[in-house]
Symmetry: C2
Subunit: 419 residues, 2 copies
């Protein structure tokens, strides 16, 4: 990476880094020296302390303590213990989140339960531009529970038009907090309030906001939520997801993945399913404990960090990146992500006719972002482990790639990296 | 553990160990020196080579390669790659198993899909004595798909009575291959054939047989199956489960946990769900890769081992244990597990009025079995890492505990260890 950003940008970046409250946190993570990692919105970096913890989980807890670990190392309560810790990062009081399963499976649980809470309302409203798995799961739940799926974007339900009217029939309104393609941050408080005025439940997918953006689940009376923990929460590849059920709904939360870990008395092994009190009824089967306990350890990287600090630095990073792209790349790309800070999450998406080739060329240089069909470059900015200096260097590399045309020999491909 | 087994038994055990074809395999696992581990039917032991592999997964694949691992380390295909390896241990040709999710979630998928394959048949038949989560999930699927749940034990469907007649209405007949309490091995070939004669699909839970008992999924025309990988497959605590769909059913396999990993073109991120060809349509969301890849590594412990060898040694171990219990404990306990070798899995269950106290006292001595309500001691025999000598020592410890009454001060408790 010999390409240099202009001095004015690097000086500005260095000044921002010098004033960065979270600068001491960067060293809690390991990222290869030759890499500028702008894909924390797909897979968060490895916290430096985690490998030693994983070795303990494997060698002592599994290898030595064996089955006794369910009691002696309290494996059993890890899902609710971790749920509370994630809850603290998304504005939920204890007892309302539980970790386990995938985001898809958890969305299945909460959408089905939400429909059952509103038995007389015939529709589920969701955004066809939301992450694909959310739409697929909504289709499945609608089919199983004989509901109609209505497509609308979050801003539509704030209008007075026909789409907003569709809310009046909705059992559940399910949206992503941040659009995975554009990086747009939707107005969770207003959309939630609109759903409530119409008599619907509001369900949010926090995969692209948890650990990066304050969410305020309790403050804004969100009903249901899900999210993954392997992006900005840095829980490790495919780390267990989580679900949130507001305390006021838990007694009537009736979800179809009724495995024994969600039972009131799991070891009585009774014939009939009886859900546990509280959020534990969101559990299903035996969770993958190596991934689960690794996630728990990874969350230590947030110790002493307030999510508002993360958000402030994230906006500083994304703002600087947009400025640098404007200066260095100019009209060659379109900044798809909102320029208004309050309307963007923690990523910047750029549109370009050869986005796949450009991203591939950047990755070859160690600047790791990703590509989304058909023409988007995505760059995620994980405030805990990025510096402003890296941000301007990445923009300079992008400018160099786009102007030098070194990517012309890369064949377009449908292959992409995992969100 | 000062208690000694009688010389006649130890000599017999030593002779069996001297002739044991799998003796060289024992060293592939690490079990603490002070422990005789008879709970591999709950959580298999740690293969010795696994910690180094886990360190590589965490430090290189996650920490260094980061998001690139989905392609460069082929994380994406791990579920089907692992499925094929488990398939080889349960008699399934490649392309019919996929790893991921929990046994509960996978049973949900296959039962729902099975009902959809038999739209005109109004019942699901399952065993109320089966593992609790299987029954809970069957209840949920029956409710969602408007089917009636009919309870029958596997041997009932081989009778000519009313319960067998119930098969004529069944969409799916779902049983455990081995009873988790009694250790009874059910007659999979005959029950499967009876289901087919009645026009029903046969679904088996292999949690207590995979890795211990030959299953013959393809040979006996099983339709659907699920199982966990953390017992006799030694995949690690809560390791991803798997599901099997016979090749002939895959084109019509329509399962409701339709997450994006099961999509035909996951990275096209289309609005509508279109299932992948083949067994990949059994996938749901992003799997827990640390647990998944650990499972993959753990399966190496079976390299060069034929399941028939495992079965032969397992029967030798359980047979010796039953003999030793007969000799040393006598009428104080009831051997619940069938004495006929062909009718037992790889565990021995003993009934005793103070089973919980006895198991607790044994664990304190390093002999680790477990307890099932209300009065069962369970001892699992994982042939790859147990010796016959350990088996007779465990029986001697049990005899000593039961005759010395040292467990009288242990309070009964509803707490138990995880299956």
């Amino acid at each position: 990476m010999s390409t240099q950003a202009p001095p004015a940008l690097t000086e500005r970046a260095d000044a921002l880094d010098a004033a960065d409250e979270l600068a001491p946190i960067v060293d809690r993570f390991t990222v290869p020296d030759e890499v500028i990692y702008l894909d924390g919105n797909s897979l968060g970096a490895l916290p430096r302390h985690v490998p030693a913890v994983v070795a303990d989980i494997v060698e002592r807890q599994w290898g030595h303590d064996l089955i006794r670990s369910w009691n002696d190392n309290d494996w059993w309560h890890a899902p609710t213990r971790i749920g509370d810790r994630i809850g603290a990062l998304v504005g939920a009081a204890p007892g309302q989140l539980v970790a386990g399963d995938s985001t898809s499976a958890n969305l299945f649980k909460v959408l089905a339960a939400g429909c059952r809470m509103r038995p007389d309302r015939p529709t589920i409203v969701t955004d066809p531009a939301g992450f694909s798995t959310d739409t697929y799961i909504a289709q499945s739940v609608a089919r199983l529970l004989d509901r109609r799926l209505v497509y609308a974007a979050p801003h539509d339900v704030l209008d007075n038009g026909d789409r907003a009217a569709a809310l009046s029939d909705a059992a559940v309104v399910a949206f992503s907090h941040v659009d995975y393609r554009t990086g747009q941050l939707w107005n969770l408080p207003e959309v939630t309030a609109a759903a409530h005025r119409a008599g619907a439940l509001a369900c949010w997918d926090l995969s692209h906001s948890a650990g990066a953006v304050p969410v305020g689940l309790d403050a804004y009376d969100v009903d249901l939520a899900v999210g993954c923990s392997y992006k900005y929460l840095n829980g490790g590849p495919g780390a267990p997801a989580y679900l949130y059920v507001a305390a006021r709904h838990q007694a009537t939360f009736d979800q179809p993945l009724s495995g024994w870990h969600g039972h009131a008395t799991p070891f009585a092994m009774t014939v009939d399913y009886e859900p546990a009190d509280g959020i534990a009824r969101g559990r299903c089967g035996t969770p993958p404990m190596l991934s689960m306990l690794t996630l728990e350890a990874a969350l230590d990287a947030f110790d002493g960090v307030r999510i508002e600090q993360v958000r402030a630095k994230s906006l500083s990073l994304t703002g600087l990146f947009i400025d640098a792209v404007d200066q260095l790349v100019g009209g060659d790309v379109q900044v798809v992500t909102p320029r208004v800070p309050g309307r963007r999450g923690s990523q910047v998406a750029l549109r370009h006719g050869q986005a796949f080739q450009a991203v591939t060329a950047l990755i070859a240089r160690g600047v790791i972002g990703d590509f989304r069909q058909p023409d988007l470059m995505r760059f995620g900015f994980a405030a805990p482990y990025l510096t402003h200096r890296q941000v301007v260097e990445a923009a300079a590399q992008l400018a160099d790639v786009l102007t030098s045309g070194v990517y012309d020999d890369i064949a377009p491909s449908a292959t992409a990296l995992v969100t």
